[in-house]
Every structure is written in C-alpha cells, then in structure tokens.
C-alpha cells in the first residue's frame, strides 16, 4: 500500500511535529546548559564563564540536600498512598453494587480539580488551625487544633497531592481489573481456590504491569510538583517543604541567579531521566509499530 509517493507525503505530514518538538527540546535545554556554566545574575550586569562553579554551589548548598530529601519523600509518600489505596479502591469498585457509576464519578472527581484549587481548599477550609474543619472537629472533641502546614508541612502536602492522584491510580487499576479473565477466575473458584489464592495468583500478576505504569507515570509528574507548594507553604518553614522544582524556581526567579538556577534545572532533568528510561522501556515493549 505504501508507495514512494505516499511515503513522501507521510514524511511531509510528520515533519511539522518533529521539527517543533525538536526545537522545543533542543533550544531551551541547550540554553539551560549554557547558562549553567555562566556567572549570570539578572541584578548584576554582565556574565562570565563559571566552569562547574554553579553546579558546585548548587550541590553543596544544604538546601539542595533538603530539597532532594523532600522530593524523594514526597514522591514515595504519595506513591505509597495512591498505589495501595488505588488497589484497594479498584478491587472494591470492581464488586457488584448499587450505583457503581456514581461512586466511580465521586472517586475520580479530585483528578479534575486544578492544583491551585485543591491546595487552597485543603489549606484554608480543612487544615487552617483556626477556621478549618479539622480545627473545628478537634475543638469539638476537646483537643488542641493542629497547625498542619506549619507543624508538618511536607506530610500535609503529601496528603493534598495524594488526594489529587488517588483517582488516577484507581481508574487505571480498575480498567486493568475489568480486563481480567472472568472464566479463569471462575475455573479457579470451582477448583476450590480461596479468595486469597485467586487474588495472589491471578489478580496480582495481572495487575503488576499496570501498577508499574502507575508508579512510573506518577513519578514523572510527582517529581515536578510545584503549584501545591507555592500556594500552601511557599517551601517553608525554612526549607521544610522545598522540593527541587521549587528550589530551582526560588533560585532563578526569586534570587535572579540565572546560572545557579540553570545548574539546578539540569540536575532536575538528570533525576527525571533516570525514571524516564524505565518508563520508556515499559511503553516501548507494549508498542507494536
């Protein structure tokens, strides 16, 4: 079917996308790499070659190690909640019940809430130590209200982000569960396999792949959590809830340190790429082009 003529046409059809994405990838990234080797601050005129100084300062800054630890805690914390919660919810929603469609809609709704809204709703209406619902409940049962965002800022942000991402893992795992072979399940049941055995030997292996996909895709997004931090804690107190994207933002757009911010950006790219390699391999295996 593919003649030389249609091949040329195909190439022409693909090329705008390829050229645009290539420019999008190469130009800004190349500039970031270039800036990362410059002494370049928007407040002081002129630039000069800095070698690896920016990297040195960025990586030896105690804030970087705090940010790295916070980034990892945030990603792992949210993953634990969403993966286990997602498996549980998907198994539950897969059971016969009344109003399944409505429950499903309720469960996936948080995914469609924009990050700034979810963060501010949690911050003010629930976690606020004076007027938040948790404070009202604490007072009603005679406890001291807890100031979530200043006393455990990172944990609070993990809760907010996990709430937004739980629908994603639930939806994907539910989709995977629904493609489970029912006849196989029934055959195992008739052969006397218990619920636990069926779960462990049939459901879990079937879900492994989807769980991996959930973990990898969420990691890519969770490594760049930004808005939730900006509107709740602004990275603080101190660096208690600063992650790497926020640190890079603070360094480049708040301290105007273009060189240092760029070095931080490159560090973030390298971290994300470590995850991306595994994700790409997973997706590539599934693609029969």
């Amino acid at each position: 079917m593919a003649t030389a003529h249609s091949r040329t046409a195909a190439r022409l059809m693909v090329s705008p996308a390829v050229i645009l994405l290539f420019l999008w990838m190469i130009v800004p990234l190349g500039m970031t790499i270039y800036f990362s080797f410059l002494r370049y601050n928007l407040l002081t005129p002129g630039t000069s070659f800095a070698g690896f100084d920016n990297y040195y300062y960025f990586l030896t800054n105690p804030a970087f190690w705090d940010a790295l630890r916070n980034t990892i805690t945030l990603v792992v914390g949210v993953l634990i909640i969403t993966v286990f919660g997602g498996i549980g919810l998907a198994l539950l929603l897969d059971q016969p019940m009344w109003g399944q469609g409505i429950v499903r809609v309720l469960v996936i709704a948080p995914f469609f809430v924009m990050p700034t809204v979810s963060a501010l709703v949690w911050k003010n209406m629930f976690m606020n130590p004076v007027n938040g619902m948790f404070a009202h409940i604490a007072k009603a049962i005679g406890l001291q209200p807890y100031d979530f965002l200043s006393q455990s800022p990172l944990a609070s942000i993990i809760l907010i982000v996990a709430w937004s991402w739980l629908p994603f893992s639930t939806l994907i795992l539910l989709t995977a569960l629904q493609s489970l072979d029912r006849e196989q399940q029934e055959a195992a049941e008739m052969d006397g396999a218990s619920w636990l055995m069926r779960f462990w030997y049939l459901t879990v292996p079937h879900l492994t792949r989807s769980i991996t996909v959930v973990i990898l895709i969420q990691t890519i997004f969770l490594l760049s959590v930004f808005a939730e931090i900006l509107v709740t804690t602004n990275g603080g107190p101190g660096t208690a809830s600063t992650n790497i994207p926020f640190l890079v933002y603070a360094q480049s757009l708040l301290s105007f340190d273009v060189g240092g911010g760029s070095a931080g950006g490159i560090v973030a790219v390298i971290l994300a790429n470590i995850v991306a390699v595994f994700l790409m391999r997973m997706i590539g295996k599934n693609l029969d082009a």
Partner: protein, 276 residues
C-alpha cells in the same frame, strides 16, 4: 454466568463504597456548599455553617471585585486554543505514522514521548528569559504556544493509538467498490476517526485547563487563567472562604463535567496506550 454474590454482601459493598466515595468527594462538595454561604457564615463550625441561610453573594462579589470573567475567558482561550493548534499539527503526523508506518516510526514515537519526560523546571530559566526579551510575559499568545508544545506528544500518541485501530482493509474494500480517494476520506475514514479526535481533544482541554506550572510562571494578570487567579487567593484573601469557594467552584465545574465524560479516554491518554 453471574458470579456468586449474596444479597447481604452486595449491600455491604454498596455501603462501604458509597462511604469512601463520599469521603473522597467531600472536599469538593464542601467547597461547593460553602460557596453559597455568606462570608461570616463560612467560617462558622461545620454544622452552624450548613444551617446558615443560602446566598449567592460570594459569586456576585468575586465577579465584581476581580473581573472573574477575564480569567475564565483566558482559561477557555488557552486550553481550547492550544488544543486546536496541537490537533492541527498532530492529526497529519499521527495519521501518517498510523497508515504509512516506516522503519523508524516506532523510534520517532518514542522520541516524541521522551520530550514529555523533560521536567518543566529544567527549561524554566531560558523560557522565562525568552518570554521576557520578546515581551511575551503575561501574553496569551506566548502561553498558547507553550501549552501546545507540552501537550503535543500526548496528543500525537493518543491519536496514533486511535488511528491504529482503524483497519486498513476497510480502505481497500472501499477502493474495490470504486470509491474515489475523496469519497474514501470523506465517508470511510473521517467517520471512524472523529470519535478518536474528539476524545483526544477533550482530554487535552482538561490537561491544559489544569496546567499549573507555566501558567503560574509566565502570567501575572492580563493573560492569567484560573489557575493563576485562584493562586492569588493564597494570602491574604484566602481568608475569605466563601469567595475562595465561589471562585474555586466556578473554576472546576466545567472541567468536572467534561472529565466525567472522558473517564475511559483518560486512562488511554495518560498511560500512552500502555493500559487500555
């Protein structure tokens, strides 16, 4: 054959599932309820707040004080604009890769996907400087381009997986029946491709509407979509609960409704076809 399932079990599952669904949805429900209360009632204890009279005053005030409709329109223009632009670029590309695959098509698709893996913060500095130097900060046109580019890989991928499902034989059959190329595209391919394009469009509008990195970095007021507008409530206006609730409700309502229509496409689009 239906699975064994006793009546009591179904009742128990239903109660648990509804309870969990309610808890998960609760923050959204609470925001919506609070948006219909007066500012003074909104900060009362939960029961007192619920009992307070209903009012539309916060909606009126949000609009009167902050030009809400400007930001709403910005969100519409940015999300729909970037989606249409992405479709114009992506439809031919996905089409060509699905129907005229070459040796390098797979590599090309994987490469396009890899551009999506780059964390935005890695190019924050140059993008900010480019925008500043070209006077694009706080302009809708600059942001439309950025949103188009960040979502382009997902759009191409989604369209590709849909187009791939259109059987090639159907074209040959149409040709055997004497259909012209024009008739082929118009009556055979287009009807089969439209649902895929529509779902891709829907998902992409949702993603662009909720995008909260570039919209926060590159806009301040004139081009600010709802993500940025809501962020302006972080302090000290955040203490106005009823107005924050009203603004939030209006910001998420359209996308909640669109989202409920696109549950299935969401899985496909966000897992790049790895889970169907």
């Amino acid at each position: 054959m239906a699975r064994k399932s006793t009546h009591t079990r179904k009742i128990a599952v239903t109660i648990i599932a509804w309870a969990i669904g309610f808890v998960i949805f609760f923050p959204i429900l609470w925001t919506i309820l609070m948006s219909f209360k007066s500012e003074g009632d909104a900060i009362k204890a939960p029961m007192a707040m619920l009992a307070a009279p209903w009012s539309f005053e916060s909606y009126a005030e949000v609009q009167a004080r902050s030009n809400y409709s400007l930001h709403f329109m910005n969100s519409v223009i940015l999300s729909v604009g970037s989606t249409l632009l992405a479709l114009i670029i992506a439809v031919p590309a996905a089409w060509a890769m699905a129907f005229v695959p070459g040796k390098r098509t797979k590599d090309l698709l994987m490469w396009m996907l890899s551009t999506k893996m780059m964390p935005a913060v890695g190019v924050l500095v140059p993008m900010y400087l480019i925008f500043r130097n070209f006077g694009l900060l706080d302009s809708r046109s600059g942001l439309v381009v950025v949103l188009t580019l960040i979502n382009l890989p997902i759009v191409i991928w989604m369209l590709y997986t849909y187009f791939k499902e259109i059987p090639g034989e159907i074209l040959e059959a149409a040709r055997m029946d004497g259909a012209s190329l024009r008739a082929e595209i118009l009556y055979v391919l287009t009807p089969m491709a439209v649902p895929g394009i529509a779902s891709t469009m829907l998902l992409n509008i949702i993603l662009a509407w909720n995008e909260a990195f570039w919209t926060l970095q590159l806009t301040t007021h004139d081009a600010a979509p709802l993500t940025q507008f809501i962020a302006s409530y972080s302090s000290p206006e955040g203490l106005f609960y009823a107005k924050l609730s009203a603004a939030s409700t209006m910001a998420i309502a359209p996308i909640l409704i669109l989202g409920w229509f696109s549950q299935k496409q969401l899985v496909r689009g966000l897992t790049f076809g790895a889970v169907k």
